[in-house]
Symmetry: D2
Subunit: 342 residues, 4 copies
């Protein structure tokens, strides 16, 4: 039996990625698509790579008919999302891909996003969407908050280590390299090809990136005490992919064993042999995460490196994995596409 | 029921692309993989993006057991292919992705490849693998010759026009732009990132590219008279994708109508609305072909532009589409993956 | 003795390229810089790669003091340029890098740019800035119109051939590949890294690109009869470089000899040995043009391929070369920087 | 008066970069060029971007006549360099761009390069070529050892901080991102465009990169005690540029002030305003280094980010700067080319 879904904000990259993945999903059908500036257009106009699909025309949200729809993917910009979701029928299951429901504490939201939350009551209800660690809550949830793509990558590298107590909680550095699609289809000078290609640089240096709110929330929760990591994201001249190089203190082999055991049964998380490390090239377009561990020459120090595709496992693939859980579909359905290399 | 296949030459890009596509094909199972220099390694070592799959270890061809195998994909280098295929059991169905069996006439082979063919008897038997135009022959074939990726692109733009007599046969120019993966995983100085990135140039200029042998053979056959096109391929700093800009003489709207009608029922060939034209970005990683037609400011002249992914529709996707036909599987099975954008 | 210049529109790519080139020019000094939205900022903020230079702060044009200034480079958007230049003191020498003064015939301007010219009297006065072909007029000019970068590339390949009568004037096709910086630092969705990288496509297909106005004007003038070429530009995922693949009818060796002779004394135009052809990689960041000629397999047909850097020889390098002429400086001064490879 | 130089190993990228820079150097003339496999060819064949220059043909080293030559740039592979230099006339000044003479201690050489040094007597004589810190020794030297490009980048960020005692010497992490040209023009599978473009990954993880030998030697020397940093280089899909993100413990503003003061008089080292940080894009093709400092949200932690072009300031530009010193030429001559952006 097919489940019917709507995608709000289908003219952005995460919206398009949802359509790409659902295109070959055997049990989900796209019943409605919304856009704002591009309402009235077909998806073939907005995203010609989806031209071969029969898809509903883009409509404004207020024109959509939600009857018969089981689940809504909300791929809208931050802040817009909370007011739209607040107004949706309570009967709908919702997966939000924005940042609006990731932080449970309204004060944390206000700190990182600079203004009070408009739907704090929903914030309490929302389940954090990092599938492997909130699987049962997601299965039962009405509203799931997709994680930040950078935040997901860092957490895959670190959560089992924090939980197992095998690393020093005060000495964690995440040096992260991200492709450009994570910034969305937005008209910003620094996202132009001529500004990015052949260049690379850090951004949001010095503890200012909003995904730190997620790291703080999640790592402190696992540790049962405040944990603050150091986090420096970089923009790399590539379209997809996040590589997190995580510097930790602990025994490298124990760290590797802890990760290997934690993810042994996970279909999408692959821990490489000890000493090997991943490339973003090898997860591109897929829902897989590759994690490697290497010891430093100085004992007691190690590097954990995690790679995933920000648009797939970092957002839309994660969302679809969660949708499968929420709709009672086998979790991996539609998500086992192999990475595209080269 | 699952069909068992072997892939010879699995350490190259077309071999890896076959594995990627078959990974989610419900009716085909990979039973054996061969490599030469990398025999003994696992696919995870040779192609880490396939790490999540359970695959047979790479073996040398002479170590393979072909019993129980239905079909062999032969992704070996040119010239090697003919001697290997010659020695394979006659009971096997074979799809060759090299250039060895594309030219029916042994003299044409010798002209373009510079030496006599070693298996001219098989050359006669081989069916040219451009699926949409040889569908019934392929269904019945034992040996199918995969087309050149450039040759496929040009033919998708031109075959229906030549057949319908709507263009001047003596005034065809194919200016083609190709990504680098078409050159394979070979250690050549001009394929290094530092040599290619940010640069673009023509190659095999002046009627010397071997795919001209295919153009000559096929176009002359359709026209019933010799047809010689002008063909200039260019190397573009991108990994995948072929864009053929084809200059023809004829009425643009008639040309568009001819193509639209010819491909109306084809699942993978999409003719864009008149005046629109395609990007390689919008077919990447997929088996789709996008074709556009635009009239010139001077009446009687038009441009036909075709885009496909050289590794998918241009080689391994085509091969799998042909395998489906040869094995009695629904033709589009495993091939409807949407393009990956961005 | 140093000459003092102003650059209007210094916040765009051609403005920045002028500053880069003048930075090591021994006889030209930058006395004023203007910008519109970014007025008030330093060049180090707007273009951090120029951080090491002592430069005037960006001002609005109306704030500039033109006394003591010898020459103005006008790197403003099309249409803005004509009204600004109209208002500049007559004593100033002016080089305009926009399209505003390229077309001598006001009707041609209106045809290609869609509205009447605001300064038709200046249009008559302006000298077309293709240095090698208008050298003496430029030396004596008050107002020089920089050429289109695509238009320059095509003309370097074709002008001597048309003048010598060695090609068929009715059978010229220019298939051109351009990097993205030619489109300027403008916030357009199709110029985003995620939209361009790994993709390539044609644009302005079918005789609609405005540089056709320049081709028509110049080629018809040389031929003494109307000449209309076919022209298809493509956007390539690279920042700099134009490669024009020009299809002509004529004897290849005669064509090569004609070009070699025409450019024998030119310091910046290099005709490669017969049969060789250029790459954009080998002219990047420089004022050099590389031109190659290859005969087709069919006698009487040839391909001429020209490569240059659109920001240097295609605009700002050309402008500086013209400025040298207008200011009585040795023509090549400051322009012999070798290309940057890789 | 012009000085005559030879470049050994002119068929590699650092050799070509030397030629590019010397092309517009007013006081240095290239008298001889050597290559191994490509001996007999012209530079125009080996590096078409240098086609416009009149250069000596490539010869084998043993064919060169060193009489009348003042200085030799040795751009040969590691290990080859030491045996070649050993055999050169003592009257020649030599700048070696390989790794052979960077480590003063023969045991350190053997440790990092895996075999005994063949010319330990020269090793003692060689001056470490980090210009800003060994200026007087270089001026007087006969043999200067060019630094590793990664090693240079890390040292520009750290040397003044270690000397001033403003950071914790045991808590230094260098996370470095490097473009591909640093690996040279070598035929390795991982340097192919198809393997690199769109992918990024670490390499030599875990304290195994040979440039650690330089860090250890230099930092320990400055500190007067052993200093071991943690160092993780990454390969980025770009041709040029190194970005070093250095994690240190200390007061961010003091760190910034220390760097700003240390480099205040240096012509090529630019310390950005506090809180700003650099991009590789903004130093490309130039001899400039950009350094930024940002404090972390946690007091006592800071990030220092340094960017340079590996082929220019990281190797050939550094070499030319040193050559200027050794030949009594003004130090910045020929090196003030502005970066090429975009």
């Amino acid at each position: 039996m097919s489940h019917r879904v709507a995608i709000l904000g289908a003219s952005g990259y995460t919206g398009a990625e949802l359509v790409r993945l659902i295109a070959t999903h055997p049990e989900i059908e796209i019943a409605a698509l919304s856009a704002h500036a591009k309402a009235g257009q077909s998806m073939a106009e907005v995203f010609p790579h989806l031209r071969h699909l029969e898809l509903p025309r883009l409509q404004r949200i207020e024109e959509l008919d939600f009857s018969g729809i089981d689940l809504v993917f909300c791929a809208l910009p931050h802040a817009t999302s909370q007011s739209v979701i607040k107004a949706l029928p309570r009967a709908l299951k919702i997966i939000d891909l924005s940042a609006d429901f990731r932080l449970r504490d309204p004060k944390a939201y206000e700190k990182w996003y600079g203004k009070p939350h408009e739907a704090p009551e929903l914030q309490a209800e929302a389940v954090y969407g990092l599938t492997e660690f909130y699987r049962e809550e997601i299965r039962a949830a009405r509203l799931v908050a997709g994680t930040g793509c950078n935040a997901a990558t860092g957490q895959y590298a670190l959560r089992p280590l924090i939980a197992a107590g095998v690393i020093d909680l005060d000495e964690i550095i995440i040096d992260l390299k991200a492709g450009v699609s994570g910034a969305g289809r937005s008209l910003k000078e620094n996202l132009l090809h001529a500004e990015l290609s052949e260049g690379y640089q850090a951004y949001a240096v010095g503890g200012t990136h909003r995904h730190l709110g997620e790291f703080d929330q999640e790592f402190s929760r696992i540790a049962g005490r405040p944990v603050e990591v150091q986090f420096t994201p970089h923009l790399i001249p590539a379209n997809r992919g996040i590589l997190a190089t995580v510097y930790v203190r602990g025994e490298a082999e124990e760290i590797h064993a802890t990760l290997a055991q934690a993810y042994a049964a996970e279909p999408f998380i692959k821990v490489l042999p000890f000493g090997a490390h991943p490339s973003t090239h090898h997860v591109r377009g897929s829902n897989y995460v590759h994690i490697g561990v290497v010891g430093d020459r100085r004992p007691g120090r190690a590097v954990v490196i995690a790679a995933l595709d920000n648009l797939t496992k970092g957002s839309s693939g994660q969302a679809l994995q969660n949708a499968n859980l929420m709709l009672g579909i086998e979790e991996t359905t539609g998500l086992t596409l192999a990475p595209v290399f080269p």
